[in-house]
């Protein structure tokens, strides 16, 4: 089996984002999606701190500390970009104006519940940021994560054991092994990596999966 690496998962996500979409990419792994968006599509990237129309990373030495993304990394602004304050920025999110957001996750349940902000460990310092707003607000919530934990346990679960970010919010899951849709009647496998059978994916995942009619 050929597991996808981080950039290959990002490229797979990018393939599904259509021309004209307004998109928020979460901090960390989802940020990689920006590098793979097809050049022939005009896609407007949003960041929670108050910017639409984020462009590529600035060249070394061209960073401006007043122009950053939600991950506090320096960015550039495309022609047509705009700045706005935090309440407007989250109004866009909560008000369902974003077509897509891409988030990382600790766990996703078969019902589409998302856990991505807190491990629940008693000594952990909680931090939530904009995750809960994005999860309830974006029209399509895409999750990007490794399929299995380091211990080999499935991150797609019957019920999340970690504290929830939002209930029933995830539309599609992209992992290093598969692309899976969350439907009202359960999980449907859209894609599987080369060399992995549906039965083996089912065994690794440990939750009921169904094939899309077109899936291998």
């Amino acid at each position: 089996m050929k597991k996808l690496d981080r950039n290959q998962i990002a490229a797979r996500v990018a393939r599904d984002i259509p021309d004209g979409a307004y998109v928020n990419l979460g901090i960390g792994l989802p940020t990689l999606v920006a590098d793979h968006l097809p050049k022939d599509r005009e896609i407007v990237l949003h960041s929670e701190n108050g910017v639409l129309g984020i462009g590529p990373r600035p060249a070394k030495g061209m960073e401006d500390e007043d122009l950053i993304n939600a991950g506090k990394e320096p960015v550039t602004l495309l022609k047509g970009g705009a700045f706005f304050h935090h309440a407007d920025s989250f109004g866009m999110i909560r008000g369902q104006h974003l077509d897509y957001c891409v988030l990382g996750a600790f766990q996703v349940s078969v019902a589409g519940d998302l856990a991505n902000w807190h491990t629940g460990a008693p000594d952990a310092i909680p931090a939530v940021g904009g995750a809960m707003d994005l999860a309830v607000g974006a029209k399509n919530v895409l999750v990007m994560m490794e399929h299995l934990t380091r211990e080999g346990k499935s991150k797609i679960v019957e019920r999340c054991s970690y504290p929830l970010t939002a209930a029933r919010c995830v539309n599609r899951i992209y992992t290093d092994l598969a692309v899976i849709d969350v439907k009202p009647d359960g999980l449907r496998v859209v894609d599987i990596v080369e060399g992995l059978s549906f039965e083996e994916l089912q065994r690794l995942s440990g939750v009921p999966l169904r094939r899309l009619a077109t899936a291998a």
Partner: protein
């Protein structure tokens, strides 16, 4: 005559009392009113409740205020960072109270205070532990959580340009919490890069009208070594 210009950050913050609620603008370094925070540290007020998106980084600014044990409580969305050691230490020791708020709810609670709204229902955090103990209501086909406004005694923010009436413009993503915090505090103190004569700011591009601003201090930007 209205003249909101104040000659120094120390003078602008001289009357902050112990126990005050202080909003501090900025997201990362963008829009962080560093010189005003330094002046607040020098001023000495204690037992503060601070509202900011984060809980300080490294050893400067808000982290230094926390490290000096001047903050009793912090209301923020994202305290944990790789370099939030002052917060981490005092929080773990039980010496600093944390009210963790989702970022959009934080922004809207600040906005609500400035706009005279007594509360609002948001779908964010419904069914999670951050909504525990809060009133929830089904409106249409969704569940919402009741949230309350956050008022402050002072807001410390950074803008780009100001005139003596306190009209403000901002620079790029440094705008972040500035406009909403300015409206939510009884006394808004602004540090700006440049002050201009009345009439020089195009009214079409004023982001924060002077009605929300009490005091303006010009802080010349540090010139970076070439």
């Amino acid at each position: 005559m209205i003249d909101k210009f104040i000659s120094s950050a120390a003078e602008a913050l001289a009357d902050v009392p112990d126990g005050a609620t202080v909003m501090i603008g900025g997201f990362g370094n963008a829009g962080m009113p560093a010189e005003l925070i330094d002046a607040l540290i020098a001023q000495g007020a204690r037992d503060l409740t601070v509202v900011n998106n984060n809980a300080g980084n490294a050893d400067a600014g808000l982290a230094a205020l926390i490290g000096a044990r001047r903050v009793r409580k912090i209301i923020c969305s994202f305290p944990r960072q790789t370099d939030s050691w002052h917060f981490d230490r005092l929080y773990r020791a039980g010496e600093l109270e944390l009210e963790l708020v989702p970022q959009g709810t934080l922004a809207e609670r600040i906005r609500a205070a400035g706009a005279g709204i007594g509360g609002f229902y948001t779908p964010t955090a419904c069914g999670t532990r951050l909504a525990e103990g809060k009133e929830t209501r089904r409106i249409g086909d969704r569940d919402y959580v009741l949230e309350s406004p956050i008022h402050a005694d002072y807001a410390l923010i950074k803008a780009d340009r100001a005139d003596r009436w306190g009209n403000l413009t901002y620079r790029m993503t440094a705008r972040n919490f500035g406009p909403i915090m300015a409206a939510a505090a009884k006394c808004t103190v602004v540090q700006v890069r440049e002050t201009v004569a009345l009439g020089e700011l195009d009214p079409e591009i004023v982001v924060t009208p002077g009605i929300f601003v009490k005091r303006v201090v010009r802080i010349a930007p540090l010139r970076r070594a070439a």
